[in-house]
Subunit: 330 residues, 2 copies
Amino acid sequence: MIEPEYVLGLDIGGTKLAAGVCKRDGTLVSSARVPTLSHLGPDAVIDRIVELCHRVMTESKIPDIPFVGVGCVGPLDVKRGVVQNPPNLPGWIDIPLRERLEKALQKPIFVDNDANAAALGEHRFGAGRGIANLVYLTLSTGVGGGLIVNHELWEGANGNAGEIGHSTVAFDGRLCRCGSHGCLEAYVSGTHIASRARERIASGAPSQLPEMAGGLENISAATVLSGVQAKDAVAMEIWNETLLILAAGLANVVNIFNPEQIILGGGVIHARDLLFTPLRQLVAARALPPLMQVVQIVPAELGDNAGVLGAAAVGWCRWKREKRKAQEPV
Amino acid sequence: MIEPEYVLGLDIGGTKLAAGVCKRDGTLVSSARVPTLSHLGPDAVIDRIVELCHRVMTESKIPDIPFVGVGCVGPLDVKRGVVQNPPNLPGWIDIPLRERLEKALQKPIFVDNDANAAALGEHRFGAGRGIANLVYLTLSTGVGGGLIVNHELWEGANGNAGEIGHSTVAFDGRLCRCGSHGCLEAYVSGTHIASRARERIASGAPSQLPEMAGGLENISAATVLSGVQAKDAVAMEIWNETLLILAAGLANVVNIFNPEQIILGGGVIHARDLLFTPLRQLVAARALPPLMQVVQIVPAELGDNAGVLGAAAVGWCRWKREKRKAQEPV
């Protein structure tokens, strides 16, 4: 089964849309990004998407791009390619994205959520090249995840596996936007790192962070990291707790899944040495030694192109799966 | 690839040894069990094991049993078949079980830990028949687990996957025997259900449990369950907390792994309706709805024969894997 040489990768986020024509080796022949303008609603955004896709395909000068891989903010019904009311795409209530794009672009469309796309992208082109079993975790506005099992995306029973952000690390802990309590995301997402710091300061802890950010309400995860470097007490307390809780979440996937690699992506990894050096030690203190021996914890490598390359990887991966299914004896 | 019709299954536990000649459909042609007498040390116990194996093979009247599947209390080095100092087998420090049994029985020996064996047994012969993706969890002295992915045991990078008992549900919680804090096992194992009740009473909570058990130190998980039925306040508090925390642990595997089924085994499932009815509701309150929709939570079905049938299932599973490897092009 020979993979097509080029596919179109399309990354649909709440703030930006990105598309690129991607060669099998991960080279981007052409690429572009535009703001999503999500306030315009699904119809207008889908028009913008279609225009963007035509533009990068024309620019690439590749005549016949056989299909499109899409990474989209979730929740999604992956099997049907339907977008189910993501917090970051207001008004997208049960929008049949695959169907609409297939009609507009006249090509097969393969859709997965952005975290699974990033996992596939890192496995194919980034930090996870050649690794059979890995866990990808993005620490961003939310916390998303994807599992690679035997070199393939693990989709689970109905395409929703990998929601590591919604694993419980404190059964009676903070309320999460999913409705549960003590989810990993409710502590270590960029959003929650910032809100934990704001809550701490609002309850009276002295801190330079409001001054650094230009007001309490402007404190972000990046402010907290600057505060750690400036030895602000609240920043250090919040960051140390973040590391401890993230370590508990990673130790969970190590102990349950016994992977060879954990790849961390998303904005929070800009913390670099403040993150990876202590994190490795804290995970080792919690995970079982024989499982810890074989697992690396590394940063994602694809950077700005992660979305488009991940989307393209979704395309090849799902195309291959469909081909294989078609070849199976009935 | 046609599986051999009969294999010998051998279950090595801290208190009993069980063996049986098992037919491909799960019928036990012959079986027997003897106490382990673990205080006699590894050499004497291995002699007892070999004698037991010869006995059930002779009784079965099956002339050529091609190999032996073994489920053994861990930790183990599964790849090498070495027993690595299990708490329940004192003195078994790096005992090359596979090598010793191969020499004594003159057959290939396939060894896995008891939780993986039970997962394979339930998948092949019990509650998980025909289910592609499931999680098995045993609630017993400890909490063990096994994952079945695409109808096969998921071993992970080095054979240690499935340690769900050592997933964190409270990052700053109770000390676990593994050295970490807040592991699922440190709350919901039979041992810890009992010790949480004893601690509660020792700290002054009024309760009938000491009287029911014949002394504080005799309180077991079974006492707590009797106490729930007798509406003892401490028993009900401990049991409700157990259900809540177990639900958090199960919601974790649901959200990470998106299985079709969770099978619960071990002594604690004798609680039946006190366990399964509230547990399903509590997991549903924590797990993401699309993943919850597709997962059943059910009791294990194999009962007393779980150990031997699971061990036999290890045999077939690993035999098949080795055959397949041998057939792969180099």
